[in-house]
């Protein structure tokens, strides 16, 4: 079935906004909606969503994770697909929810069903909707960082690059070690801030050596970490989420930037 064909009813997609995007960078949410709608989807934003539960899950708080995950499952299971502009939140739902409910049979089944239809946005556009290009222009030298969860849990690597290459005027240059962690790791960045700093410094050195105008990635946590470090180092390199460029929504200021 061609999901974008005019005869078939549009695919019903629920956007999982993610808590960081909600608070720190709404543009990413709107860019996601635009990309999905341009691809022929009908996009819904369930109101009860807050967070996927990752902070609790990675802190060892299983009880709270369970309750938050149940809330997410109940709110999202009615849609055809669940899409998030984040590999780590999509990975939480897709990979970790089934693991979380392993010993609770009825919820496990629901978690598995949700898992099967949950996607990171660039993966969804390329692998499910089979979009081959986007309608955007952006004249800039761009480098892309592979965020860990998207890359290793969901296999997101070629998809964003393929879409970026279809952006008019965009020149994609790969940096050294683009697949190595930026040192964010959620609360890790605060709990082990010295180590995190060392890792992100290594990352920004590789970014700076590539000398792009713009740094992109698919996860806001990593982007805030890298942007925050670049700014502290006085770098002029701009930082944005990959969907902003793909959707052509570049009017908002870059992350941690004036212009």
């Amino acid at each position: 079935m061609d999901p974008t064909s005019t005869q078939a009813p549009p695919v019903q997609v629920a956007l999982f906004v993610t808590c960081l995007v909600d608070i720190f960078r709404p543009t990413i949410g709107f860019a996601s909606i635009k990309l999905l709608e341009d691809a022929g989807c009908e996009v819904h934003v369930p109101k009860v969503q807050t967070c996927c539960g990752q902070p609790a899950w990675n802190s060892g708080d299983r009880e709270n994770t369970l309750e938050i995950a149940k809330q997410v499952i109940a709110a999202f299971e009615e849609y055809d697909y669940i899409v998030a502009p984040s590999g780590s939140c999509a990975g939480m739902i897709k990979v970790h929810y089934p693991e979380l409910f392993e010993k609770i049979p009825d919820w496990h089944e629901r978690a598995l069903k949700l898992s099967a239809k949950t996607y990171e946005i660039t993966g969804f556009l390329i692998d499910i909707l089979e979009v081959s290009k986007v309608n955007a222009k952006h004249k800039a030298k761009v480098s892309y960082h592979d965020s860990c969860a998207g890359l290793r849990e969901l296999g997101i690597s070629k998809q964003p690059r393929k879409l970026l290459k279809s952006v008019e005027g965009l020149d994609l240059v790969e940096m050294k070690d683009c697949e190595i962690c930026c040192g964010f790791g959620g609360t890790f960045a605060v709990k082990y801030s010295d180590i995190s700093n060392s890792i992100v410094s290594e990352k920004t050195a590789n970014i700076v050596a590539t000398d792009p105008d713009l740094l992109l990635a698919g996860d806001l946590g990593c982007l805030m970490n890298m942007a925050g470090k670049l700014k502290r180092q006085g770098s002029k390199i701009k930082v944005r989420h990959v969907v902003e460029v793909l959707a052509g929504l570049n009017d908002d200021k870059p992350i941690a930037g004036r212009d």
Binding site: F30, G60, F188, Y192, S193, N197
Partner: protein, 473 residues
């Protein structure tokens, strides 16, 4: 060995400020990972071999009792002795017993992590027996009175200058002005010194990479050949190994060897793969008169039945250390005990207790690179998370963190309140962020802002904007 894991944060800070160490770690980052990637690329069936290796070990672990008994029987049949040690203390006692019975004064040693785990060198010295490490890396750190910082490259934290200095200090019988500029000259010097020690030693102690049940054979894989001399020259050969080192057959051993060296050093196979079965037989030209195996449990049989059992598949290749951004940043000593990096973060709490090793499974970004490269497909991040859960349940995690998570989770479960609070938070942070859209100081976020700016929100939350504009921007 002294446990320094509770001071992990301090250790890490010191390591990050140590210029020499940072230089040496650069080597780990580039060399080990590059070589492994190349070796993997050259063997298209590498991932199948990993599956295979995993299946072999899983099978062993399910029937460990059977294979251990078979192994013991085969060792006995070949004329060797088997000693069972429940913990480190028992293992040390057995070694001392063998030393006393054979009147041993000096012991040469091949590289063995179990020896580190039971703190053997210190113990032997306290009992007037001289242990001599014969692996070059181990020899260097023994001179320096240090512990290994890596499970396959014990002296990887040092640079050439440091080693040269150490040799000049220790080998005072050699001319002061001898050239020691090449790695090869350092190796030759160590070899020269160790040669005499090999010949004089009463006992040779080695570890084991595998114990083969069908033949009662112990196997070591090495690159320097020191292990061979350690186990063939002295009168007595003692093998120190933990119980999970068992594989059923020689064929199984060969299978796992194919992923071991490739994952470790990027070699197709190590220079030496040495099999020893029992003491010297009548027609053998060399070999020890006595052959002992000490089988150490030290917490492993407990792991067999819990959520950490998969860790017992580990073949100590070191790939997870080499690819870990945290290990690459701080090196092995910061972890504060024998086993560093991701494998240590899972194993160490099992062996010394989570109350002492609590930082280890927390000091990870969960980037998943360790699991991605582990030849035995061990889900290291998942097991680190299991430790975090145990810490959380036992209230071992810091109070401030628990409070923070509890408060946040309370709100996350109440979307209306959550909406209200996040709207206010976004607005406040946006104001603090000012025109530059970044925050450089913020109470409670010092860990973040000490090293980087916090990007500020731009005002309203997505949810607020979306509802206000009915989905249109």
């Amino acid at each position: 060995m002294e446990i320094n894991s509770p001071q992990f944060k301090l250790n890490a800070k010191t390591a990050l400020g140590d210029k020499q160490l940072q230089g040496a770690l650069g080597h780990v980052r580039e060399n080990f990972t590059g070589k492994r990637a190349k070796a993997r690329a050259q063997l298209p069936q590498f991932d199948d071999l990993r599956q295979n290796a995993r299946a072999i070990k899983d099978h062993v672990l399910e029937h460990l009792d059977v294979y251990l008994e078979l192994y013991e029987q085969k060792v006995l049949e070949s004329g060797g002795m088997v000693h069972w040690a429940r913990d480190a203390q028992e293992a040390r006692g057995i070694v001392l017993d063998i030393c006393r019975k054979t009147n041993a004064k000096t012991v040469t040693k091949g590289k063995s992590m179990i020896s580190e785990e039971i703190g053997l060198n210190e113990f032997l010295q306290d009992n007037d027996i001289e242990p001599i490490e014969t692996d070059l890396g181990e020899y260097i750190i023994q001179l320096r009175g240090e512990n290994p910082s890596h499970i396959i490259a014990p002296a990887v934290h040092l640079n050439m200058d440091q080693v040269r200095e150490e040799f000049r200090k220790a080998h005072t019988h050699l001319p002061d002005n001898r050239p020691l500029n090449e790695p090869q000259s350092l190796l030759s010097e160590a070899r020269g010194i160790l040669r005499e020690k090999f010949l004089a030693a009463d006992i040779g102690i080695t570890g084991a990479n595998f114990l083969v049940a069908e033949t009662g054979t112990s196997v070591i894989v090495t690159n320097e050949g020191n292990g061979d001399l350690t186990q063939t020259l002295p009168r007595v050969h003692v093998v120190l190994a933990s119980i999970e080192k068992i594989v059923p057959t020689l064929e199984d051993m060969a299978q796992i060897t194919r992923v071991l060296a490739r994952s470790a050093t990027g070699q197709e196979i190590t220079v030496y793969t040495t099999l020893s079965t029992g003491p010297r037989r009548k027609l053998d030209v060399d070999g020890p008169e006595e052959y002992h195996v000490i089988l150490l449990d030290n917490g492993r049989s407990k792991m067999l039945g819990n959520e950490f059992s998969q860790m017992l598949r580990c073949i100590r290749c070191g790939a997870c250390l080499n690819h870990c951004p945290v290990y690459q940043a701080i090196g092995g000593h910061a972890y504060g005990w024998v086993y560093p990096g991701p494998m240590g973060a899972v194993l160490t709490p099992n062996l010394i207790g989570i109350d002492k090793a609590g930082h280890l499974p927390n000091a990870s970004t969960f980037c998943g690179r360790c699991e991605a490269v582990c030849p035995m497909l061990i889900p290291l991040p998942k097991m680190m998370r299991s430790w975090r859960e145990k810490e959380f349940e036992r209230h071992l995690s810091p109070y401030s963190q628990r409070r923070g998570i509890a408060l946040w989770a309370w709100m996350a479960k109440r979307p209306k309140i959550y909406r209200f609070v996040t709207s206010i938070a976004a607005r406040c942070l946006s104001v603090i962020g000012g025109a530059n859209k970044q925050i450089n100081r913020l109470p409670m976020a010092g860990g973040w802002t000490a090293h980087r700016a916090l990007p500020a929100p731009h005002g309203a939350t997505f949810m607020a904007l979306y509802n206000r504009q009915k989905g249109r921007r």
